[in-house]
């Protein structure tokens, strides 16, 4: 619905708008995303708005840049965010290039985030609706991208978007938001998805501090660093968190919160990306490492490689997760992003 309203608002403003649906996942899905019904709905919306609609097929690229790396990362015991990878490699890479070749001035999406011009520079800001803010998944965009990106609903509350949808007579206005990973069937989950593609590895669960063997899991790949739910649920009622996953050694370390908290996030150097100029060693930032997590104060530091020192210790962060940096003095403004290598 968000992208439909975005399109409708642009049409209303007098822009020449063409709707595009990206066909990303060629396999089975129950998320509604990329299904024939989904494309049909989008096409119908375009008809109602009086604009052309095209379907662009990126299934091969999606498989190569998003799905296969997602599977490979699990083999290494990492937990990437596939939506971020899709945005980086498909939407804001291939689609932007295509839009330029096809003669478009800008690409508009229905993300809840804002692009604001300030001192001749484009800044990416959190969406006005804090509950729906999607700036996290856009964290890797740089100034060049932001100059081509239009986010028409970023300064609206969700309720306002719904009102516009109803005003435009859009049939999808009561459709629930898409939430899940589009290529994983919600009814079957990540486990079934991975089991069909890779052999999952049994592992021993040990106490991080004492080395005591606490139990077994039949799939180390499904244990995520930082996870609490489902970790030895029947053992003794103690809350334990996963602090490390070593798939090849078949070893998962867990511990009580005070034993596993981290205060430093090491970053994959090549993943580090800034909206504008690189931040300096010692820069204070607010960091967020999940789509709807709470931002924490941290300091970006360099000792031959970049890392983040957290002001307050936190639950461990899974390697492969993206961390997005916001300005410490303007907590709405995105400054950059990187992938966590280890906590």
């Amino acid at each position: 619905m968000d992208s439909s309203v975005a399109a409708g608002l642009l049409v209303e403003q007098g822009h020449e708008v063409v709707g595009a649906t990206l066909k990303l996942w060629g396999g089975v899905s129950d998320s509604g995303c990329c299904s024939v019904a989904d494309v049909d709905d989008a096409r119908r919306v375009a008809q109602l708005l009086g604009i052309d609609h095209h379907v662009f097929n990126y299934t091969d690229e999606f498989n190569r840049h998003v799905v296969e790396p997602f599977i490979d990362a699990h083999v290494r015991g990492q937990s990437p965010n596939p939506c971020i990878e899709c945005n980086r490699h498909i939407k804001f890479d291939l689609l932007f290039e295509r839009a330029e070749r096809l003669g478009f001035d800008a690409v508009a999406t229905g993300h809840h985030a804002r692009v604001v011009e300030h001192d001749g520079r484009r800044e990416l800001l959190r969406g006005a609706d804090a509950q729906k803010d999607q700036s996290y998944v856009l964290g890797y965009l740089d100034d060049a991208h932001l100059r081509k990106l239009v986010l028409p609903i970023g300064d609206m509350e969700k309720s306002e978007v719904r009102e516009h949808a109803a005003r435009f007579g859009l049939p999808t206005w009561d459709k629930p938001d898409s939430q899940d990973v589009c290529f994983i069937e919600a009814s079957k989950g990540r486990e079934v998805f991975l089991r069909r593609r890779i052999a999952l590895t049994p592992a021993t669960i040990v106490d991080r501090r004492t080395g005591e063997v606490l139990g077994q899991t039949d799939a180390a790949e499904l244990m995520t660093v930082g996870q609490r739910r489902g970790v030895l649920p029947d053992r003794d009622g103690e809350k334990r968190f996963v602090s490390s996953v070593d798939v090849s050694a078949g070893r998962v370390e867990v511990g009580r919160l005070e034993d596993v908290v981290v205060s430093r996030l090491r970053l994959i150097q090549t993943s580090l990306s800034f909206t504008h100029d690189a931040l300096a060693n010692g820069a204070r930032v607010l960091v967020q490492w999940s789509a709807h997590g709470t931002a924490q104060i941290a300091t970006l530091r360099y000792d031959g490689e970049w890392y983040l020192d957290l002001a307050k210790p936190a639950r461990p962060v899974a390697p492969g997760q993206s961390v997005v940096m916001y300005r410490a003095d303007e907590p709405s403004i995105v400054e950059g992003a990187a992938i966590v290598s280890r906590a």
Binding site: D38, V39, R101
Partner: protein
């Protein structure tokens, strides 16, 4: 609005005025049910049977062999599933042999039967790099379990014609008792003289809208009696082979389309084959362009090419902007261009197949349109390659 240059006849041909006029009479007021006995029913029945005569003559079969269906997909499904079901009645195993480049109407029907029944198997005959069926590969698939062999007359994506006489000879000569043969002649029908070209085949599928007739009108035509089970038995129409009230207007429109196609066949072929040569000559100079299967017989109306390093999506988008209606020839149900199983079977490199383009013409295509197309396509291709 930019001028419209229609080069997607192979997807659906423009409706002929004569078709619309002929159908008019059967789309207003009382139209009798052709199965009834009173005068309105008799009028309707006569119109249906006159249509049946014309459709039969179009392929050189007897009118009694024509089963009207609601389109080509249903016709192909009835051939594959209907003959296989009949075969299953007195055989332990039933094998469906198809070429690997068949339209999904045939492929999906075959795969559906194999999925539903443990005793049904689908085997595929390979094609060579030009997309012509490899008769040796076909021969290898044939044994006493085969229920039906289906090979299209001309391929809907590339336009490449298939050696049906060879297909039929193998199917009849290589299996004791002979195997029923089916051909999807839908892509060939606007161009080839079907009484000769499909003359050896037992079952022929046609549809009207590729001939300028209505959609939802098609036929499965039996040149020789073949045991077949109805897929929709209710009502017993079409001699018990396809239940449901026969759509008089659709039959009349279909018959009008085949009559006009037959009448104009030679003239249209003569004219359009020149366009085909002109297009191929012009396109072969464009960067990265390769004419698909340049050395083999193709229907005159289709020019299929691939571009290295250009995505079909982008090509079609810019052509559309310039008023050119064309197609990548393979798309999924969402409308997205997808990798073609036909090009894969011909071992076309995936990078090339991703840049495929089918330009398909028809009786009303003019030289002015062809020249305009060459100009527009050239500018679009140069634009996409220069900026790559």
């Amino acid at each position: 609005m930019t001028a419209q240059y229609y080069f997607d006849h192979a997807a659906s041909a423009p409706r002929r005025d004569e078709v619309a006029d002929a159908m008019q009479r059967w789309q207003h007021g009382v139209v009798g049910n052709p199965s009834g006995s009173h005068r309105a029913a008799r009028d309707a029945r006569r119109a249906v049977e006159e249509s049946r005569d014309e459709v039969a003559a179009f392929v050189g079969a007897k009118p009694g062999g024509v089963i009207f269906t609601a389109g080509g997909t249903e016709s192909c499904h009835l051939a594959i599933a209907g003959v296989t079901e009949a075969h299953r009645r007195d055989h332990e195993r039933s094998v469906i042999v198809v070429s690997s480049i068949e339209h999904s109407a045939v492929l999906d029907a075959a795969q559906f039967m194999a999925r539903e029944h443990d005793d049904v198997e689908v085997r595929y005959a390979e094609v060579d790099n030009d997309g012509v069926i490899d008769l040796e590969s076909l021969r290898e698939q044939l044994d006493e379990d085969v229920a039906i062999v289906s090979v299209m007359t001309a391929n809907n994506e590339t336009g490449v014609c298939q050696p049906l006489d060879g297909v039929n000879s193998l199917s009849k000569g290589h299996v004791p008792g002979g195997v029923p043969t089916h051909t999807d002649a839908i892509a060939a029908a606007p161009w080839l003289y079907l009484p000769v070209v499909t003359g050896s085949m037992d079952l022929i599928s046609l549809c009207a809208h590729k001939l300028g007739g209505p959609v939802n009108a098609g036929a499965l035509i039996m040149r020789r009696e073949v045991a077949i089970e109805a897929m929709v038995p209710g009502g017993g129409q079409e001699r018990g082979r396809r239940g449901g009230t026969v759509d008089v207007a659709a039959c009349v429109g279909f018959a009008t389309a085949v009559r006009l196609t037959a009448k104009e066949l030679t003239d249209v072929n003569d004219r359009v084959i020149d366009f085909q040569h002109k297009l191929c000559a012009a396109l072969s100079f464009l960067p990265g362009c390769a004419i698909t299967a340049p050395g083999v017989a193709k229907v005159p109306g289709t020019v299929h090419v691939t571009f290295n390093g250009i995505a079909s999506d982008e090509l079609l988008f810019l052509l559309d902007q310039e008023g050119v209606c064309a197609s990548a020839a393979s798309s999924c149900s969402s409308g997205a261009a997808v990798a073609s199983h036909v090009l894969a079977a011909m071992h076309v490199e995936p990078s090339r197949a991703a840049g495929s383009l089918r330009l398909s013409m028809g009786p009303e295509t003019t030289e002015v349109e062809v020249d305009a197309l060459i100009g527009i396509l050239s500018s679009v291709v140069y634009r996409l390659t220069n900026e790559n």
